[in-house]
């Protein structure tokens, strides 16, 4: 769709540039820091890998090194926010929000302090570090909390925009980032607003709703499906909470078939969120592509994405099967 200003119109056999989503966060945080001196940052001993070093180098006096202490990370964040700061606190998603959920619940959500929690290295594409570091339950954990917004950008360009947007948003928020290079699919002109989903490819036979690293895979899948006579609509859903109900409902009322795709457990993740929403408002046949109640393991990212069914091929296979069953 031309008004989405994506990098390409067609994705199959088209060369794309790769960049880790977290890099966009690093640039966005520095730029948010330039725009507003109340933007501050804290990290739990992972400043380079979460890309906070760009902010730290530019604004040393507004950066707090917490050490390996994730409970302290988010509660110090709550204190900074209480005094009018706009804190971004980062670690790996497996540790934050993996280890400090209650502190996030009480001192950020219930206490209504606008802390931005950044969880990097989410998903199995973390690779050789193995299951302990491949966070697959963070969306579920954060989505269950009242007063929390949950965002998973689709590429580094969108992560940069989302970070700048979060600095102005001033509500408790969680953003998940990935370690490995992810295809750059969007441009500076591609729209992004917190709470909005975007139709990246129009179609009439089926709706594929994807988030984070899986949106590129969904775009590839829609082209494979087109060759098989299935005209799929791809919705990129970077904000998992609050869901863009209007965009999703409009599409699903047209296509009446739904696939969700995420590099996360399907239980309680994007697939969970869409199931809950459509179950109450417009039940249609649907399938969820994602991790199915399993932990990851060591390996190369591409081996793991294949093993856990997180590629365009898997989306296509699932979609074709659903299309056949629904006929």
């Amino acid at each position: 769709m031309s008004d989405m200003h994506l990098v390409h119109q067609r994705w199959t056999d088209t060369k794309v540039l790769m960049e880790p989503i977290r890099k966009g966060f690093g640039r966005g945080l520095k730029s948010a820091g330039e725009k507003d001196e109340n933007v501050v940052a804290a990290c739990a001993d992972l400043t380079d890998s979460t890309q906070m070093h760009l902010f730290k180098e530019a604004f040393a006096e507004r950066f707090v090194e917490i050490g390996v202490a994730e409970q302290n990370l988010v509660t110090v964040g709550a204190g900074l926010a209480a005094m009018g700061k706009i804190p971004f606190v980062s670690s790996y998603a497996a540790f934050s929000p993996g280890r400090n959920w209650e502190q996030i619940r009480t001192t950020i959500c219930l206490n209504d302090q606008p802390v931005n929690i950044i969880g990097s290295h989410a998903g199995v594409s973390v690779g050789p570090d193995g299951a302990t570091h491949q966070m697959l339950e963070d969306i579920t954990l954060m989505r269950a909390l009242p007063n929390m917004t949950v965002i998973a950008p689709g590429d580094s360009i969108e992560a940069e925009k989302a970070t700048v947007a979060l600095a102005k948003y001033k509500k408790p928020s969680y953003m998940r980032l990935a370690r490995e290079g992810t295809a750059i699919i969007s441009t500076d002109k591609t729209p992004f607003e917190i709470g909005k989903a975007y139709i990246y490819t129009q179609g009439s036979d089926m709706t594929i709703i994807a988030t984070g690293t899986m949106t590129y895979q969904a775009l590839l899948a829609s082209e494979m499906l087109f060759k098989q006579g299935i005209d799929a609509e791809v919705i990129h859903c970077p904000t998992i909470k609050p869901l863009d109900a209007a965009t999703i409902l409009r599409s699903v009322k047209k296509t009446k078939l739904v696939i969700t795709a995420e590099e996360h457990q399907v239980n309680g993740g994007l697939g969970g969120a869409i199931s809950e929403f459509l179950g109450e408002h417009y039940p249609v046949p649907m399938r969820r592509v994602g991790v199915r109640d399993k932990f990851g393991q060591s390996g190369k990212p591409e081996e793991l994405l294949e093993e856990y069914g997180l590629t365009a091929k898997h989306i296509t296979f699932t979609a074709v099967k659903l299309h056949e069953e629904a006929r």
Partner: protein, 285 residues
């Protein structure tokens, strides 16, 4: 000292606050008795002498911050706030009831004057660190952050994460007060999870440590002054308190940690408080 109340007036206030705590807990039918009674002298010292605050303007930008990390002791804070003029004393009887601003554990968004939401233990000192860092970034040099913590709460790892951070960044406008009453829900702290040597623990974490009798209002005021005078280290006041202080049958008994008095017990407790343990004749008796 140098506040607007004499020591004698402060002691009477502490007693009034204790009476309100008993009435509130009896009426609510649930809640913690021992901790709030033991903390009445500390809260009296804070709200009527130590804190820079304005009950008419709870969000005043230059106010000192008081964090209650052990949120279950909030009845003493509510009572002290009502006596200080934050809200009408009649509202105290809504404690723990449906629709009340006085939630069972304090919620910042419900009642102006509460600085945070607490209940789950161990996160107050961390929030104080964040606040102190923000004040430093803003060059706000004349605001202090007081954090009340329970002793059982020190079992939480989060506390020691904050202890290290405050020391690292020399957050000297933080003054912590540990309610060292030696009890927690499952029994004496030294049986449940030994904390001693507590003073040396904090000292070794880089804190300025002051040991006091936490039921001596003058000692609390003096220790806070000493804490403010230290401009290199955060201060931890270890305040030895008597759990259930002022009510003979509750004092030192860990069974009163988590329960309220029934009607007869409340009557007995109030009588004791009004007569200062039989030393004087009750006014209304």
């Amino acid at each position: 000292m140098g506040g607007k109340y004499s020591l004698e007036e402060l002691e009477i206030k502490a007693n009034d606050i204790r009476e309100d705590i008993i009435r509130m807990l009896e009426y609510a039918g649930s809640g913690h008795s021992a901790g709030p009674l033991g903390l009445a002298d500390i809260f009296t010292a804070l709200y009527f002498d130590v804190l820079k605050h304005d009950p008419a303007k709870p969000n005043w930008g230059e106010r000192d911050i008081l964090l209650l990390s052990n949120g279950h002791c909030v009845p003493v804070r509510y009572a002290a706030m009502a006596h200080a003029g934050y809200f009408d004393k009649n509202e105290l009887m809504t404690l723990r009831q449906f629709g009340s601003r006085l939630q069972g554990h304090p919620e910042r968004t419900k009642l102006p004057g509460l600085e945070s939401t607490s209940g789950p233990l161990g996160s107050g000192l961390s929030q104080a660190c964040g606040m102190s860092l923000a004040m430093r970034m803003n060059s706000e040099n004349h605001r202090w952050i007081y954090v009340i913590m329970g002793d059982g709460e020190l079992d939480e790892g989060n506390v020691w994460e904050a202890a290290m951070l405050a020391s690292k960044y020399k957050l000297h406008n933080i003054i912590g007060i540990i309610d060292r009453n030696n009890i927690q829900i499952d029994g004496p702290t030294e049986k449940v999870m030994p904390l001693e040597d507590l003073s040396h623990k904090w000292e070794s974490f880089g804190w300025n440590v002051i040991d006091i009798d936490g039921n001596n209002i003058e000692a609390v005021i003096d220790a806070c002054s000493m804490g403010r005078a230290n401009t290199t280290k955060p201060t931890m006041i270890i305040a030895q308190t008597i759990p259930g202080k002022g009510v003979d049958f509750m004092e030192y008994d860990f069974k009163w940690h988590g329960k309220p008095p029934d009607h007869d017990q409340a009557k007995k407790a109030l009588h004791e408080l009004r007569t200062l343990g039989g030393k004087i004749k009750g006014e209304h008796e």
